[in-house]
Symmetry: C2
Subunit: 195 residues, 2 copies
DNA sequence: AGCGTAAATTTACAGCGTAAGCTGGCGGAG
DNA sequence: CTCCGCCAGCTTACGCTGTAAATTTACGCT
């Protein structure tokens, strides 16, 4: 063992731990995975991870960030790969949103699960969330480009985000039947506003 | 100690425990309340609650049901107390929805938190959820009465539910700023559908 | 070769949900 | 009235959790 812990080695171990934790969380849900289980999966003693993360919660935050990064990438790719006007691209992004949430149920739950959210927008988690949100706001941008007032466009964007999040959350909980989220997205595509 | 445990005494203890647990959950969040703490608050030994509930999860279910009952009552009252057409009543119900969720954050989180939802619609929990849903579906009913196809009306209803649930969930998590949910509801009131 | 240091391990503690064994006192039978 | 069975409630105990503290281990440097 070399005496100081290189920043690089530190990052390498953190990344490796996140790799392992990510799949364990995805398989069983973060609640069902203990520190000791993660350490065992890594082949180290139970306390070793504490040299690289301050607490279990720190690990959850790190994996949440990774989740947001994969999520954002999926949305951006769907948007980029789709041809047509802004509405068509937004629709593709919405489908990618639902596909990610339903296909990565435990990861999505970890990302948006009930936290006190001590983190405003400063930390890396806040930035990851902001980036995902920015991807979702492309539709709002297109509305603004078409002459809609900014506040109004942002509000519509918020409605779309709320509807998508609510739809997948309810479907993941089993409260609404399978397919409900996709149906809701279809309806979202036919929305107009009075006044 | 009378020998048999009267069904009535059993129900009385269960109700008393739920009373206590409900406020503890509301204050600190269900995760932060242990069996031992509930027992201590009741002035009984740690294992006594297990004579009345099979497990901690059973208590959570019971309190969740109570939450849904209060929730449903709030929606129904808002609907009944509001004069005007179906849209006005639906709007009042939406406001009541948001007020309940934001004003009973931990209870709402407990009600709609991430569960595997082993309970379909048979048990009492399923019925409590169904009743809350029925209250929300009054708007859909009014659409049907106005000639909209049933499937379409139910889908719109689902969109409204999703948007409300998503909006309050995101606001409770601190992801969206305070007031966002109310703003989203305002926008929902101005929705129309093309085609 | 031996020492200082820091990484890793082991040990330990308080708390959890809950299974299992124990106890005290009431209701009914003799 | 006495004694016995029963069972509500209590105490104890187990395996688990996250993690603080003490201990061991092994490298780089002198």
């Amino acid at each position: 063992m070399s005496r100081p812990l290189t920043d690089d080695d530190l990052a390498r171990f953190q990344a490796q731990l996140c790799d392992v934790a990510e799949v364990m969380f995805a398989e069983r849900g973060a609640e069902q995975v203990s520190m000791r289980q993660i350490a065992a999966a890594l082949g180290v003693s139970p306390m070793t991870p504490y040299r690289y993360f301050a607490s279990r919660d720190d690990i959850l935050v790190a994996v949440r960030i990774r989740g947001f990064e994969r999520f954002t990438a999926a949305l951006e790719q769907a948007y980029a790969d789709t041809m047509g006007d802004a509405a068509a691209k937004a629709m593709a992004a919405g489908q990618a949103y639902i596909a990610f949430a339903l296909g990565n149920a435990n990861t999505y739950r970890l990302m948006f699960g009930q936290h006190q959210q001590e983190d405003g927008s400063d930390g890396p988690l806040g930035r990851a969330v902001a980036r995902a949100r920015a991807t979702l706001s492309v539709y709002g941008d297109s509305l603004i480009g078409r002459g809609v007032a900014e506040a109004e466009a942002r509000a519509m964007e918020g409605l779309i985000w709320s509807a998508l999040h609510g739809a997948v959350t309810l479907e993941l909980a089993g409260t609404t039947p399978p397919g409900s989220a996709r149906e809701t997205l279809g309806l979202l595509g036919r929305i107009g506003f009075r006044e």
